[in-house]
């Protein structure tokens, strides 16, 4: 028998048939009897006091059922960093002050969206505009306006990471570089905008259907802000049209729908418009980066110093985590003996910045991999060689921070090296740039302060052998329903079609922290594997008795066949054995339980994946116009559970990270985002998409289910840096602020020409 029957197979997504036929019902598609439609009124000012809100005219409009403001709430501030009350700084419905253009001030429920929209125009809000500040470098000045009471210099969060003796080490370096970089904002652009249907009934129970990355977080955060019992709130995640980091905090659609529904005891649906999605939801954190890097002549890296100031926007959101992770991943994927990071997250009067796929690591990888190439160039060392010399290896400890078990970085470097050599001489104006990266498989941090295991699962084996898998994991498109079903089927020894997954409904599924930080495959996968193993052991107890095998034999189930491990031909059908086992226990169905919380794995993550990406560009040296022609990625993510899923993650990441490096940006004027539509927000479409090639490197992660680890977000880390290095390789100019637009390349080419004329 082959090692695995289900894992590693090319399977169809378990939610695929519903999605290709249009049968999948998203929150966006839901209609409940007696349901009303809500709209949200938002601040037109970046910073202002609310003097008065008059809702009387809006309330009189025919068809309007309720208008709510912050006065209709308990006035509690909330935030996802629940352990730190000072970081729970967002009211959602502002009572006294607005802090960015888009901050919600009122919400309306009406018989239809048009009426609700009309009512928004009738709400009269009296504001007293306050001086506003938009750039973090301005916001930390003494005379800058204070955005949150008592927060001096608008300093929201600071983080420090250090090991070794950095100052001493720099003295020993043969060569030191100092560079500054600027990382831009990026919008998630989920195809389904944030939306929610809330229904508060006369029995005092609240049900919320919403497009979310964590139904458990939303349940808990609503309980906090509404002062309801967690168990009286049911959050259900229907199929979800993308998340990418934007959907695991409590958002205005969810909260306003709930407040309106609690007032009316009628279901209320709110769908954010595309413009609201761009201007009034969270976004990738813009960062100012200062890097100092020191090396020996031979390219051995001795010390790195990192200082980062981030544009926090109006609220903390998940920005505190992004601030930490950008600092941690600035050391990746290299063995720095001496390292120091200081990060400062600064409040500004702009839309809050928060989590987005890669979570601070795309910024650190762009800056770090750009600078490493610059240093290698100065020292006359090959870019692959310098990465080999300093790259992480298996069983490496990041001093005082993290333990890395499996690591295939060097195999990835070899593989990309071979690819580049095979590619041979490039056509004129083409260039290849590489970037190496690593990423975590879920975070160990518990700022949310959950008392639950990080992941949990239940497996129920029914009389006909069909298996129900219950998990709080959230499939937002990344495919966790399929991957977890595969893990369950493999462990239990059945086929994928024997599994039916029931996920992310807080009433019937055990809590899980949700889909962020690339955690579901490893963390929930471990819980599912444990639950399936528990169920299997209950079946095997009966099998051992029934089959009368010598107790020295091990029993197992594989391909629906209960058998002796050493003599697989001696066995019984799984279906027959399940029937007998259930009959033998007085008809009680078999229930397996599993949970997972990482222990003794350092401070960051239980496992890390690695990779190296080579981007080829073609640049027009006259105009700076360029395109991505090929992206080849050597990566390792432990055992590949779902190969079709990994391909999708990789190619999708290139679209998103390529956009980050190449064209996506959110320019602002006075706190106004200037391109809040899909027509104006440039992202990669089919014709711009490069050829993509995957070089899969085998590794096995001891901490992961069947040896698997992260494969979702890490792939967004390398592309921007590799693009920058490729442009340099093609035409010899370096762009240090994202995105690397043709215009910036053109300007850099012009500057270079001027300089060469002068000298």
């Amino acid at each position: 028998m082959s090692k695995y029957s289900v894992i590693g197979q090319r399977v169809r997504r378990v939610d695929g048939p519903d999605k290709v036929t249009g049968s999948a019902k998203y929150t966006f598609d839901m209609v409940l009897p007696n349901m009303l439609y809500g709209k949200i009124l938002r601040s037109p000012y970046p910073h202002a006091k609310i003097l008065n809100i008059d809702t009387s005219k809006a309330e009189k409009l025919i068809g309007v059922k309720a208008v709510v403001t912050g006065k209709d709430t308990l006035g509690r501030k909330q935030g996802i960093w629940r352990r730190f009350p000072e970081l729970c700084d967002e009211e959602i419905l502002c009572r006294e002050k607005v802090r960015y253009i888009g901050d919600p001030v009122a919400a309306v429920a009406a018989i239809d969206e048009d009426t609700a929209e009309e009512a928004l125009d009738l709400i009269e809000v009296e504001y007293e505009p306050l001086p506003a500040v938009f750039d973090p470098l301005e916001a930390i000045k003494e005379d800058a306006p204070q955005i949150h009471d008592g927060v001096e210099l608008n300093m929201n969060v600071t983080r420090h990471i250090e090991w070794g003796d950095v100052d001493e080490a720099f003295k020993k370096c043969d060569y030191v570089r100092e560079d500054k970089f600027k990382c831009s904002s990026q919008a998630h652009v989920c195809m389904e905008t944030h939306d929610a249907v809330a229904s508060f009934d006369h029995g005092g129970k609240l049900t919320v259907w919403t497009s979310t990355q964590s139904s458990y977080y939303i349940q808990r955060l609503l309980a906090d802000i509404l002062d309801l019992r967690e168990g009286d709130i049911r959050v259900i995640k229907p199929p979800t049209g993308g998340g990418f980091g934007s959907k695991f905090e409590l958002d205005s659609a969810q909260f306003c729908a709930v407040v309106l529904s609690m007032k009316l005891r009628q279901p209320v649906k709110i769908v954010l418009s595309r413009e609201e999605e761009f201007t009034a939801t969270k976004r990738r954190t813009p960062m100012y980066y200062y890097l100092r890097l020191g090396a020996k002549k031979d390219g051995t890296l001795l010390a790195k110093e990192v200082r980062v100031i981030t544009e926090g926007g109006a609220y903390t959101a998940m920005g505190a985590t992004a601030l930490y992770l950008t600092g941690f991943f600035s050391s990746f994927p290299y063995k720095y003996p001496n390292y120091r990071y200081d990060g400062y997250r600064v409040y500004t009067n702009t839309a809050p910045s928060s989590a987005m796929r890669g979570f601070g690591a795309p910024q650190s990888t762009f800056t770090g991999e750009s600078q490493l190439d610059m240093l290698a160039h100065d020292l006359g060392i090959d870019p692959i060689e310098i990465r080999r010399k300093n790259g992480m290896t298996p069983d490496y400890e990041v001093p005082g921070q993290a333990f890395i078990q499996s690591c295939g970085l060097h195999e990835c470097l070899d593989s990309i090296d071979e690819y580049i050599k095979k590619r041979g001489e490039l056509p004129p104006n083409h260039g290849i740039g590489v970037a190496a990266y690593g990423f975590m498989s879920g975070g160990i941090f518990n700022w949310f302060d959950t008392p639950y295991a990080f992941s949990a699962a239940l497996v129920r084996v029914n009389i006909d052998g069909k298996v129900d898998l219950f998990t709080g994991a959230c499939d937002i498109g990344q495919g966790s329903d399929t991957t977890l079903s595969m893990i369950c089927a493999e462990e239990l020894g059945v086929r994928l079609e024997d599994i039916r997954i029931h996920a992310s409904d807080t009433d019937i599924c055990p809590a899980d922290l949700g889909a962020w930080g690339s955690r579901e495959t490893l963390m929930n996968g471990n819980a599912v594997k444990m639950a399936a193993a528990d169920a299997k052991s209950q079946i095997l107890e009966y099998a051992a008795a029934k089959m009368g095998a010598n107790i020295v034999y091990d029993l197992d189930i594989k391909d629906q066949w209960v058998h002796l491990v050493d003599r697989p031909e001696r066995g019984v059908s799984y279906f027959d054995m399940v029937k007998e086992a259930i009959r033998g226990r007085d008809g009680e169905v078999i229930i397996g339980r599993g949970h997972y919380t990482p222990h003794r794995k350092g401070m960051i993550s239980p496992a890390y994946s690695f990779g190296v990406q080579a981007v080829e560009v073609e640049v027009d040296p006259e105009t700076g116009k360029y395109g991505l022609t090929n992206v080849t990625t050597a990566h390792e993510s432990g055992t590949v559970i779902n190969p079709v899923g990994i391909e999708g993650q990789l190619e999708g990441a290139i679209m998103m990270a390529g956009g980050y490096g190449f064209c996506e940006d959110q320019p602002m004027d006075g706190g106004n985002i200037l391109n809040p539509s899909i027509a104006d927000y440039k992202l990669i479409r089919s014709l711009d998409m490069p050829e993509t090639e995957i070089l899969e490197i085998d590794t096995y992660e001891p901490e992961g289910p069947f040896g698997a680890k992260e494969a979702g977000e890490g792939l967004t880390n390398p592309t921007a840096g590799a693009i920058g290095n490729a442009v340099y390789d093609a035409v010899g100019v370096r762009v240090t602020d994202l995105p690397i637009t043709p215009e910036k390349v053109f300007r850099a080419l012009r500057d270079k020409e001027k300089q060469s004329k002068q000298s």
């Binding site: 997504r13 939610d15 048939p17 249009g22 999708g652 899909i678 027509a679 014709l687």
Partner: protein
């Protein structure tokens, strides 16, 4: 105020009364309950609302329902027939050409309209055919592979 609208949707004739400003996508989703067609931007920029009208791919968020009066509309719900999936649907499933699925209906309809017009498109023509449809998950290449597989005859329409 309301005007009469006659439409054949997925082979089924309908007679409706709609406001002049009602969009085709609103008729499909809100009046007929065919929610497989999505709305992603309401400005004809993302392609999630793509359906076929009289054999052509159109963005149903930018067409008044009354402009389609007397027309024949095909939505994603009408792609499968007789209990069998359309070859494009089969190919999308096999090639992982969908993830969150929110763009999928529009993507399938754009691909079908393209193949109806040109059953043997080049790779570049396939890319052009779906250029109006944004997919934020897949990076398009799996979609292009799926359409290519259909073009290559790997999926036959079942009669």
């Amino acid at each position: 105020m309301r005007k009469e609208l006659r439409l054949v949707v997925n082979g089924q004739p309908y007679e409706l009364y709609v406001k002049p400003k009602t969009l085709l996508v609103e008729v499909l989703r809100d009046h007929l309950g065919l929610t497989g067609t999505k709305r992603g931007c309401n400005s004809a920029s993302c392609g999630a609302c793509t359906v076929m009208l009289n054999g052509m791919a159109v963005k149903s968020c930018s067409i008044l329902a009354l402009q389609a009066d007397g027309g024949e509309v095909l939505t994603v719900e009408g792609l499968a027939s007789g209990g069998e999936l359309h070859p494009l649907q089969e190919a999308f499933l096999d090639h992982g050409a969908l993830q969150c699925g929110f763009c999928t209906a529009g993507m399938l309809m754009s691909a079908k309209a393209m193949l109806d017009e040109n059953p043997e498109p080049t790779k570049k023509q396939i890319k052009e055919g779906i250029h109006g449809n944004i997919c934020r998950c897949t990076g398009y290449n799996s979609i292009i592979r799926a359409v290519t597989a259909v073009v290559n005859g790997e999926y036959k329409e079942k009669k």
